[in-house]
Symmetry: C2
Subunit: 219 residues, 2 copies
DNA sequence: GCTAAATATTAGGATTGCCTAAAAATATAT
DNA sequence: ATATATTTTTAGGCAATCCTAATATTTAGC
């Protein structure tokens, strides 16, 4: 297993390759490689029984591939947590470092790191950290953008996108914040919210609000 | 700069490529590659002005190459320190993990890690950790094997060799221990020593004693 | 000081992973 | 329903890094 194969497996996972078939093009776009390179690499992953490939129809992960992908996600997120919790990185800066470290992380190292960090459940932007056996809790797919006015929700997770994370850091909005939705401005305007703990009012852009996932906290 | 090139640079450094010319064969043996591969890679490193190569005479590091090598050593030893001090690895187990992590460590990460560890001067087996500018203190080249009977010395450093480190861990001898040499048994027999702090007597094999470096502590 | 042994370099190939361009298959739109 | 557009696969190449085998150079023994 090389780092590049790992990248393919992980991106297929992130594109939803557990449930549905992923197209060649999606992978090529996500990894920024040529379509031909994808076909070639996929055929190798098929040999290793990590993915199944129906030509022209799509690619999905086998059980083995899924296990592998969760391991990578686990390692990635443990490193992100380490960087933020111990080395004082900010959330928006950790992705590239974790991206390279994850490929060089033995199971033993992941396990020691997990212990050192106190078995965190979530990475800095709210993603679930799978446990050693690849188990992880369900995540919310409810976007902040869809929450109703006056609804009270907890910020659960941000998409792992640099621009977004910088924006949110500037804004001061964090994972686990309990907030109340005030109103949705028209014409794709910002969603106005208030953080319950300190009554801080914030305006979250329409686009950002589609990349923030929340969980209801009131009846 | 690829990880393999980094490995070449680092091994040339470790073989003494700052002061003397290193032979093709030494590198080939140390990296376990064919001699032809070394010649080829060296010619690339020459192009990048990292080494100078006098055909048939030997290879040594340029200033640029030295700078690069110390950076790698710094990263390697910071990781080793992290693994022992924070993740409770034992000294003998850290080398392979550090070996791969070092290649994926940005300067920023090294710097943050250094700070987190409290700017350690030495790695777990006593090697000097160069600072951010590549500066590092001189090291002792005085072998325990050469210390005279009744001499009192401090254990400064062990060679980074797995077998040796396992042996020393079992023996209970550590870097920074203050010891007194009792006697040298004949016929390459062990060196008998006593640790001053707890009066623990230890017999260090002749071979190990050639891989342990010490610093005199009495007049 | 010459010959044999050791060491170094060159040459030719393999593998991995990428690319571009051409060909094949599928999807879309009128 | 067929022509066009899109997507996928195939084919042929390139770069990095390794290998083995052949050749060249240096070192060492007698």
């Amino acid at each position: 297993m090389t780092p590049m194969k790992e990248d393919y497996i992980k991106i297929i996972f992130e594109l939803g390759g557990i449930n549905k078939k992923i197209s060649n093009k999606e992978i090529a776009l996500a990894l920024d490689v040529a379509a031909g390179s994808v076909t070639e690499m996929i055929s190798k992953l098929v040999e290793e029984k990590l993915v199944v490939h129906e030509p022209y129809a799509g690619i999905s992960l086998t059980k083995k591939g899924q296990r592998y992908a969760t391991e990578l996600v686990r390692k990635h997120r443990l490193w992100e947590t380490f960087l933020v919790d111990k080395l004082n990185y900010n959330m928006a800066d950790v992705h590239p470092e974790a991206e390279v470290l994850e490929h060089q992380t033995s199971d033993r190292l992941a396990s020691s790191l997990d212990n050192f960090l106190g078995y965190p459940k979530h990475c800095p932007h709210g993603g679930v950290i799978p446990d050693e056996n690849g188990h992880f809790d369900d995540i919310s797919h409810e976007m902040l953008a869809m929450a109703k006015d006056n609804e009270e929700v907890e910020i659960e997770r941000f998409l792992d996108n640099h621009e977004l994370l910088v924006y949110l850091t500037d804004l001061g909005l964090n994972v686990e914040d309990d907030i109340k939705v005030i109103r949705h401005d028209p014409f794709e305007g910002p969603i106005q919210i208030v953080r319950k703990t300190d009554q801080k009012a914030m305006a979250v852009s329409y686009k950002a609000a589609h990349n923030i996932f929340v969980r209801k906290t009131n009846g």
